[in-house]
Subunit: 371 residues, 4 copies
């Protein structure tokens, strides 16, 4: 017997001709015993592979026995997803304002102190359900504010966040520009990182930068810390990850199947699936702290040949790129070799061969270690 999948379309905005912007929300129900799961994809318009992963997840999940209710949202951003400029999708930021679509979520951490004061005697279950209800209510209150007080990106983000706060597990599927697979993992959830088939893990602190994973876990993490200050130990009750699936502007259905299996392995570990055989691949996983993930900006303008292999380990002083500068072929060396001064793992590089001085060329893991 196949699981039923239901679809709901949620309106998250309106465009200039007055038509609604909506996103499709797919739901599969489990037996109610597992953690609630929320998975979304394509908040950045060019990062499309997550839709293919959701496709593969749906294809698989309808045949699994589920403990968890699972909500899956492809095409999370109907503006970014359809925004072209030239051949490519210009979906990283609002084309009107420049605001990064993934920096618009709301941080509810300010609710923690009063909540803890009121719930010092509550049971863990009471805490969990009351804090969840509070997050949902506050998100809804923001959406219910006068329409003139909410900007475009905030309205999309709050609608998604409302769905995410219902879940115990939140996965936001992104990609890098040209990128190795990597995982943004909150430090407290390090153990879970080993259940994904992702060799590079970025451990992030309890700091809010506007993204969905942070909006999902920061309040719960702060809640745990606030109780700790009261002398009471409660776990962080929600896990949230940003899963970087590889490169943008690419659909690869076979790779999506692998990534779906990787997510199912993690969900099996979290008891979302019953009698599931999904388990992590054996691989060396490297991690680094967020502060050790270094952006390397182009030290000069020019045209770039990227030579550091993605996922590869480079040594300090290795050539990572050549920069060709043909304007001054005669007056200076037209081909410059770039190096980085630390041992590092190459995580991603810029998507274009043409860079200004100061364009982010690479991201590197430094001071990395085996997980």
């Amino acid at each position: 017997m196949m699981n039923q999948i239901s679809q709901e379309n949620i309106q998250v905005g309106e465009i200039a001709n007055g038509l609604p912007l909506s996103i499709p929300v797919y739901r599969i129900k489990g037996n109610g015993n597992g953690p609630k799961v929320y998975i979304q994809a394509n908040m950045h318009g060019a990062e499309v592979q997550g839709n293919a992963v959701i496709y593969q997840l749906l294809e698989t999940l309808k045949q699994q026995t589920l403990a968890s209710d699972i909500t899956l949202v492809p095409y999370a951003n109907p503006i970014g997803c359809n925004q072209k400029s030239g051949e490519f999708t210009l979906g990283r930021f609002d084309p009107i304002t420049g605001t990064n679509w993934n920096r618009m979520y709301h941080n509810h951490t300010a609710l923690v102190n009063e909540f803890v004061a009121q719930h010092s005697e509550s049971s863990l279950d009471e805490i969990k359900s009351a804090f969840r209800a509070l997050l949902l209510e506050q998100t809804q209150t923001m959406l219910d504010a006068p329409a003139y007080s909410i900007d475009t990106g905030k309205r999309i983000a709050l609608n998604l966040q409302r769905l995410a706060h219902e879940a115990d597990i939140v996965l936001d599927l992104h990609t890098g520009p040209i990128s190795a697979k990597h995982l943004y993992c909150p430090e407290y959830a390090k153990t879970s990182a080993s259940y994904f088939d992702i060799p590079h893990v970025l451990l992030i602190p309890n700091a809010f930068g506007g993204a969905l994973d942070e909006a999902s876990f920061c309040p719960w993490w702060s809640l745990s810390e606030a109780f700790k200050q009261q002398g009471r130990d409660i776990p962080v009750l929600v896990e949230a990850f940003t899963v970087e699936l590889g490169s943008q502007e690419k659909i690869d259905l076979a790779e999506a199947k692998h990534d779906a299996n990787s997510i199912l392995s993690y969900l099996t570990y979290k008891n979302a699936l019953i009698d599931s055989a999904f388990k992590p691949l054996s691989m060396v996983r490297y991690a680094c702290m967020l502060d050790d993930c270094i952006a390397y900006y182009a030290p000069m303008g020019g045209m770039v040949e990227y030579v550091a292999p993605l996922g590869g380990h480079i040594e300090a002083g290795d050539t990572i790129a050549h920069i060709l500068r043909m304007e001054r072929y005669l007056s200076e060396h037209p081909l410059q070799a770039l190096t980085f001064d630390q041992n590092a793992i190459t995580i991603l590089h810029f998507a274009s061969a043409s860079v200004n001085q100061g364009t982010e060329l690479y991201k590197f893991f430094t001071n990395y270690f085996e997980l």
Copy 2:
């Protein structure tokens, strides 16, 4: 006898074909007795009128007797200034990253505490020169970091900030989209606001949002506050303003002459000019606190007729715009009147007639008062 104007071109970046990005810096020297003045324009690419104001300032200043050294920088942002997308200039944010060019300056406020500890016994003059030297040195240190650690916008901003920190008076010339003239004025400099011929003044607190005015005054304001906590009263030694000249994408030389005179009136008040006859026009000036300057986002998508007059005072409930939605001419009222629920002064509106739900339609002063 005319004052000499000197020109220096400062390199602030390189583009993809390897050519340098430079900005022209014009300097006029005074007799050394006045406050140093720094004026820049066009950090946002479409906000060009400041260049015309600098033109008019140069034309006038070369005939004035000057106490102050004055530095003037048109075309402060050589990327934004030349970035087209369609007919208009897409110069508000880095086209690659979306980062607002005017949110990239560095906040040196963190230097204050150690500085105050070291200068508790210093004279006001010593404090002024030592803190200025510190700001300049720290800005230079950031520019001297490995080239790979500085992104495109930061490099432009730091180069400009280095020039601005040399001055006692900093004016950053901007425009709104379609806008009445208004002035961003730090609360402590309220008196100065009356010397500009600008009827609308936004009083801003000591909070850093990344703009040049803030980068210029926040450290000095914090310095003053830190000394006050030590029981010593020193004034805020630097004044910095963002001057919003009106609408973007427009050069109006006659209006630029008025705005140059307005600036010269302020500079006369600050003793930058000797025997100057420039003085402020008699006008009612309205001010509001930053928190009372309200962004009004489009409550629905559609095509907008703006009807609230710029600089006009509206009453709560007045119609401020009509939104035409022709997709549903038969199924709902195709013409919606928008209202705002507070008494307000209309400061600016969006530059286009087509808006998504959530696009910033208007900015209003509320709870305004006569300055």
Copy 3:
């Protein structure tokens, strides 16, 4: 009794998330005795005022007694209409390919020769209905070709053209960038131009450039000429105009009312309305031939103050703009006056103050004459 308005939504494409692109088509029926009328607006995304004119037309037409069936299509281009890049609407060309949306219609003139050969003995009525049927059938055939053979803009254009070919009168509502009102009128329909309240008329020959007016009248004009070569005089049976309503990025409902009345005056003249009181305003109308409408490109890069008044008559040598070039304030005259070497009427100018050398600054009527 009010006329019934019906709405149909026509699908003209699909976007990247798979959702349909549709346009709303409004229809009012007359008594069948008048010429069929087709009016569309907003093929170029920023040229929104035509939607307001259609709104005013619908509001008026539902109260008129109509001889004609009238079809009105606002938001003719659902991609262009919603395409933002910065604050403005980037709707002039396909953002992927650069193709001007209004150069994608099909020229059916090649059908004329065979048709004339077959209909040398037909009555005028037979000719009219058979040629119309042929145009419609051929347009439908193109739309029925394999989906892989039709590009995005062509599919939109052919869908609109199919509607337009049903009509005897076609009005395509556009605007200039910053523009005086003007009318593109085929030379044979010069008399009709005097029924619009538009003071500037551009007389265009039987040459196809890809626009809807041309696609609508060229085949019928060529049909008339082909019969003339056979020694038979038939009139051009279709009239089509591009109506340039003024400036882009602007909704002005009062002005839209005037322009609706202007169109109703023309339709009254064409017997589309019964007992209608709409008649043209008394005004001097100037015309020029298409070849005498001169594009004036910026002879240098810089920032422009436009000083030639729209609709104004300039003399050869008058200053039409100032160009400010602040990079070389000291080394050359920073303010250049531009002149045009002919007597002319200023029809439109560029929408931005920043121009490259070679940007179209102005369009002028030269060798103009009273209509």
Copy 4:
């Protein structure tokens, strides 16, 4: 002894801040006995690999014995080359007008008839030098027209065309979006195509579409045909090719070395090099006529997995792509397989995974044959 390379910078425009746009022109002189050669790259901003090929050509040519004067122009389009929109280079068309930068060259074919009338008795050498002089003079005359009559793209194109008309051999280095190597070759120069190491050759007729290769050879081809109509056989005296090097947004120095060698093989065949060992690789080369090169537009909107291998031979009915449409996962099959109905060679595909209905997905050679 190394050949001297000289550099000249040619001004081709000015940008909004008044600074000149220039392109670097590199020249190497031969002994004067070989055909003059002109090679340019990067007319489309994202098509950067040609700059790397010119780098490798310069590195090699300075060590060769040359019969020919060779002119090499990297960065042919200083606007397109530096135009960013998001991470990618938006350099295919003028961002203001949408005009394809490679459709702006001038067709001098209209000069042919009068020239032939005047030179019916001239020797072949006289014809060659007089017609070349005429092309150069007419191009210069266009550039000398009033500055206000030349638009931005035309000015760049005419400046390049002036350089190209000096040459007997013209190579315009482009790339496709994601592409196999292919060569645009005029039908009369088919033999030359076998000297390039390029397996796919597109044979093009004597028709002008605005590109540099056509602007270079069409007048000479028409000259040959006009003399033929007079009963005199003269060869087409100029060869011009567009060389499609592979994919855009990519610098690959090793591949550039191969492509430089391929060009040197052709130049060796044309006696531009003395004692040169460069010769073509042995490979099967496939050709098709321009009309048989089929654009395949997306028959629906969605997210695309490209599965037809570049350069691969597909059979009618093979799956060439999957289109994922997750909006309607439940209501229709979310994954559609696309097929093409002819045997074909896959030459290129679109650069993004997100497509509207009607976006060009693929280009195929059909009715291809071995060269």
